[in-house]
Subunit: 267 residues, 2 copies
């Protein structure tokens, strides 16, 4: 299974669930759409963002009907400038983006669809549309890379996911002969007993920052230690942080986390 690609909703099922009214039949819809700042083509820019990971999935444009439809169906819908028509992402591929919240920016010409993608967001099959990077190198020249096998390396990974990737790289290198001492991550990956000892130890150190009033800076540092070591432990079990985020969303989105946590601890 592709990571993060869960149950594929069929197009038909999603379409049936819809009962999209024109804007005139939805109270307040026209006033809202009027408040947006449409460009000369009658469009606003739309950014689809992953609710769990924060990844920017894709960027396209919407007309009034597309915003109106997305608000009603909860499925990311755009206006295709090339085909000049309504475009519900996923309607042909099954790779819908389930939109939970819709935001407009300060000057109302850019929208965020915050949501949960079903499958890859990019038509290439990549998880997001950004996998090619440009940099000015040490030689002062611009280098770019769009090699398919480097997609993950050239995606805009934010800190937590960049760390996750670094840990995976250490894991991938484990079989290889390398010069010098193995990295700390490699040592942890190779020694589950040491790793578990460290996770427990770092949790203790985090608690001590509160117990001994060691201050905010120290607390942030110990939390970083705990997160890092825990993520090494998760890597050994093949668990991506995205799955952890999904668990958190599903729990606290329904107050579930409080309910579950309130149960008496296991004996």
């Amino acid at each position: 299974m592709h990571r993060g690609y869960r149950t594929l909703v069929t197009c038909a099922a999603a379409v049936e669930q819809r009962a999209v009214k024109p804007e005139s039949e939805v109270p307040g819809m026209s006033a809202y759409l009027d408040s947006l700042r449409w460009n000369n083509d009658g469009l606003v820019a739309v950014i689809a963002q992953h609710v769990d990971t924060g990844e920017v999935l894709m960027q396209a444009y919407s007309d009034r009907n597309a915003i109106c439809e997305t608000l009603q169906t909860g499925l990311a819908t755009f206006y295709s400038r090339s085909r000049r028509e309504r475009w519900c992402k996923g309607e042909t591929s099954g790779h819908f983006i389930k939109v939970s919240r819709v935001f407009a920016d300060c000057d109302k010409d850019s929208i965020i669809y915050l949501g949960d993608p079903i499958g890859p967001a990019c038509h290439t099959g990549a998880k997001t549309c950004w996998f090619s990077e440009a940099q000015v190198g040490d030689d002062g020249g611009v280098s770019t890379c769009g090699k398919h096998e480097h997609h993950a390396a050239h995606s805009p990974a934010t800190t937590l996911y960049a760390l996750e990737r670094t840990i995976q790289q250490r894991r991938d290198e484990m079989g290889q002969q390398k010069e010098g001492k193995p990295s700390w991550t490699a040592r942890l990956l190779a020694d589950p007993v040491l790793l578990c000892k460290k996770v427990r130890e770092e949790a203790g150190e985090l608690c001590e920052t509160l117990e001994a009033g060691e201050g905010a800076e120290r607390a942030a540092s110990e939390m970083a230690d705990l997160l890092y070591h825990s993520m090494v432990l998760l890597n050994l079990q093949g668990v991506p942080m995205e799955d952890v985020m999904r668990v958190l969303r599903q729990r606290f989105g329904t107050s579930g986390i409080e309910e579950k946590a309130a149960r008496p601890p296991k004996q």
Copy 2:
């Protein structure tokens, strides 16, 4: 101090650091810029994203010169469509966005500047430009809210930061008389001894998933428990997850995390 707004670099200092060459003098730059898909106005859409939190900070447009400059200076630069001129974000406000990486999407008409904002990204003083939300309510009508005091509630918070916000809300409610049993979060916030006991316990349970081979689903669930309880502990110490992410970036960006972690544990 505003959270997350660190040292303000003066405009002058940043400008001095720059030595922006025209595209013709940077090897490979014209080829790269030629590879992008400019609209009829010679622009591409640009999304500025927070490297630590994944927040979409702002969305604007860049021309060839703006992309060329950003790649060289590492400061987010755009083309202002209203003023019809080059626009280095922060040049007047001091609120620069330090861009560490630049990405293009699959069809090369949308760019991500991944970076670290110095101060609020929005000219309104809000952290990001998205703080107004539209939803179709239970009554079938569209409601929007743009109240200044609700900005945080109507920002596109991803799972980790939405959880952080929920914890803070429980904290804010603590003084208030509320019906029924206090939430689990409120109990933890009120009882640091219980909280520390839980953090240590959850770390142990996470380790047990590896030690006892309890499987990936259980590991994700225990990591969610550990993260949640640790975040309650951080809240009590006024430490946002953004600070933890910054620590992680600063460490593993320079392999520092491995170096620090490799030191012998405290005696």
